[in-house]
Symmetry: C2
Subunit: 615 residues, 2 copies
Amino acid sequence: MSDFIVPDLKKMKLPRDLKKLDTKQCEALCSEIRQILIDTVSKTGGHLASNLGTVELTLAIHRVFDSPKDKIVWDVGHQSYTHKLLTGRLDRFSTLRQENGLSGFCRPDESVHDAFISGHSSNSVSAALGIATAMKLSGSDRHTIAVLGDGAFTGGLVYEGMNNAGKSETNLIIILNHNEMSISKNVGSVAKYLSTLRTKESYHKTKNVVEKTLDLTPLVGKPLIKAIKSSKKAVKNVMLGSTMFEDLGFEFVGPLNGHDIEELEAGLKAAKQLKKPVIVHVNTIKGKGYAPAENNPGEFHGIGAFEIATGNPDVVPADSYSTVFGHELTALGKKDSRICAVTAAMKYGTGLQYFSKAFPDRFFDVGIAEEHAVTFCGGLAVQGFIPVFAVYSSFLQRAYDEIIHDLAICDTHAVLCVDRAGLVGEDGETHHGIFDVSFLSGIPNTTIYSPSCYEELRLCLRQAINNDKGIAAVRYPKGRNSTIYEVSEPTVTYSHSRNGGRLLVISYGRLFENVLKAQEQLHNSGIVFDTLKLVRIFPLSKEIIDIINSYDAVFFFEESYRSGSVSEKYASVCSNVASFAINGFVKHGEIHSLLDSCGLSAEKIAAKIREFCDG
Amino acid sequence: MSDFIVPDLKKMKLPRDLKKLDTKQCEALCSEIRQILIDTVSKTGGHLASNLGTVELTLAIHRVFDSPKDKIVWDVGHQSYTHKLLTGRLDRFSTLRQENGLSGFCRPDESVHDAFISGHSSNSVSAALGIATAMKLSGSDRHTIAVLGDGAFTGGLVYEGMNNAGKSETNLIIILNHNEMSISKNVGSVAKYLSTLRTKESYHKTKNVVEKTLDLTPLVGKPLIKAIKSSKKAVKNVMLGSTMFEDLGFEFVGPLNGHDIEELEAGLKAAKQLKKPVIVHVNTIKGKGYAPAENNPGEFHGIGAFEIATGNPDVVPADSYSTVFGHELTALGKKDSRICAVTAAMKYGTGLQYFSKAFPDRFFDVGIAEEHAVTFCGGLAVQGFIPVFAVYSSFLQRAYDEIIHDLAICDTHAVLCVDRAGLVGEDGETHHGIFDVSFLSGIPNTTIYSPSCYEELRLCLRQAINNDKGIAAVRYPKGRNSTIYEVSEPTVTYSHSRNGGRLLVISYGRLFENVLKAQEQLHNSGIVFDTLKLVRIFPLSKEIIDIINSYDAVFFFEESYRSGSVSEKYASVCSNVASFAINGFVKHGEIHSLLDSCGLSAEKIAAKIREFCDG
């Protein structure tokens, strides 16, 4: 310890050199990493609290296993920043979440150490089992490690994965990173059950037994397994009996102190030696090492840029589509006691905190369980209630079948409030809400609204709740209403503005602003065109078709995936419609820049129109 | 017992009068019902074994609870026939699964006693929780009962539901109908765990304790609860400790003998008195009371018409799209050891029994868990294997998000073999495969094939496995290739037949046969048109667009939901295309009759063409 050298991430061969560090060096490295995380995220924004909580765990994993020969699958990816730093991405870390920079999630095309894509919750066990099975088929005895938080345990996909993994005879290790938080406080009986494990005092015992066992065995390896297996009692001590996981066929190690690097490594080594499916329960503190994040892990889950000294965000948004929705729903809930609000672990993200406070009995946070949320809404609705499920567009994808089966077939009245519709910016492919128009419009008995400002959101919500039948979806983007144009006629249907042009330009939602900007840009060139703002975007409207047919040409700009889009549908019945929409997955970046790359910025829209008018 | 009167279902007020029967009459009624089930299903086809297994259970439920005030939610609905008979549908029972007749599943629009729709597995807990929550909000203390088989327990949606139900403080009763079979033998560690419960000898104890407790209490009701609750030991005896369910917050009753009406009723009464979420574990024998079904519950799960004396099906299909697929995949698997086959509890239904026998290590039955199946395929694929997931079209809906997130974003190569694509006939709305074209074509990096005969299925499968990148989906209908036309040029792309017409008629899959039939029908009227059979139906092809543009008019007939269909997509880029597709949910009935009602029979196609040519 006298020749202590502070490890320098910049100079290390990663992740190989991590194994050379002693405990003190590991601790120093963890401090260094925490500082990088805080510095970077304070500038770029991103997921901070979850990453601060898993610094030691990530280091321990990389010291006990050999990535990329062993495969690490990070669930959701909210906790993968340290992994990025420890696998040679320090030099690019300041580009985190910026266009052409590092992704905020795991991406196999970003690094060979990212074994599987992450972004949507609860997929890690199934993906890791696929990888572990492939290894077994290939004759490899390497390990696959899935790391997931207790929040992910509320998603049914985890159970499907565990049901298949328990009996799989693979070298699969599932690490439960238990911090009792996902995005907000976890809900449900599984979370409660896991908490009973967390609070068991036995991790010190585990630590001691594991260490003792290791001390007694000259070489780590078969002797260790033998030592553990020879004594049933010892096994029970090391593998703290957890009936639920044991019932599912797993060995169980833990709970381990997730901020004690030695205990973590001892536990992971024990799990590694077992050569069968193991659950390792690790207790961590979300936000560890940065007081503002420890005190407010929810606020520092996903955050924009902030001031390090105080933890105060750069700009506190005074309003957003989410909060406008939340306030309006609360007002409606006051008048109509049939209205219920449902969220899948996104109470704050969707703006439902106001409703939940006003009507706790009619508010339901179901955990990360979008499928259940929709079917549960179906049950409420058939009894005469009006369920409103507020959910991010890309996560609603998981409930596609339930929307068809448990709502649409019986023409059940339910309201889907689809937040984060359209491009979301820095979170990238997995989070852009570019498919909801396509999949919702492909379901019978569905009406879709895409308001272009706060007031239209309020109108559409009232219309959807009070007047519509069947499924009514109201979709709106992430963030604030940034329009510089006053909406003179808020509407739930459409607004047609005639200037005597032979060209009509249609759009909806926030993108309509870009059409107005293009109009302004082209004004000086003497290019005149008419505009149509759609608000009820589906089903198609006979009125709109008639309007379209009265023009020489119609350009329809749409912030949605092209195949299955509304513009495609109008184009299929009107021969003069040209559809401009998104043509594939879109990477992460700043929204206006992404829109431009999709041909949907004001400039690109203006260019298309100019081309047509000049042509 | 001397004045024993055999109960006559026809004359009873149902379900009310069921409560008046004594045990002997109940047993007689169960025999009567079994005979009706066997007689009817031998003519109509349907789900037999599962219904024979739940006769006593259904009767007990209706005697202990008051439908429709209490709500019964049947999972999947494979076991709802007795429920139909006991709720006044005897007179229409012979119309089961026939057009305009009774549905083979539960339908709220068929009876007030059908509390929720059924068809897709594992939704019952979530739906029942929604109903139970609505009751609680309305101040009702009525019960909601979800009945589900152990097969449904492999679906993640059940866990999402249980995670929320356990802590819900509702009068929710979940009845686990445990027969260790769903469609084929259940798989996974949950099934294994449930089996350990099943084999516990304690149900006699349960029976005795429950009965004793009932005897000791003069009135059923609060005294019973008190009696149970007052003694912790008694509670433990009655509520046989099942850690997994208890961990999830439920009380537990059982296992009960599912063919002993007295024991069932005692157990259900105990559950009813608890006034909180309860799991009732009921052991049943699938096929009970009909030897061929007891001996072959898999074969009698879903069956066509059969001869009662022998149990032999009317016609044993020598071949089907499923078996052709199964044989071809086995042949390909012989040549390429990277090919893996995955099914979600449909080994026989999808024709994978041949592959599973030949390559047991590369065959994976994951249970009713389509989401896991897709993500697991993603894991196999990133390690260089070629996963082939064979799945029914309507069940693949449940994996929509996983196809996007865990396959498409990384452009992972995986093959989806989409069986039961198009209308499936008697199973109706919940089972028609009319959405896969729309949702798969709405996902980037996806290629879709729709072969029109066995040989094309083989070609497409080889193409998808050996040559394609990304997601390749091969979709084919239920049953046999019935075409009377020889396919002279099997292809994986398209086949264009020129007769000098100014009209081109496009179709794909089995529907193309109807186009040829229409051609024949119109031949004598001197009406001539060209045809184009599409096999690779998506993405759109420049070649096809050029061909389309060379015609005055193009009629595109498609056995898929209209919104998001391929014909809509071609119509959006070619102004001369008219799209004829399915415009909403389609009820159950005989396939040709259903096609006719959708305007897709040969006659309706001919009529459209005649109209155009005469116009």
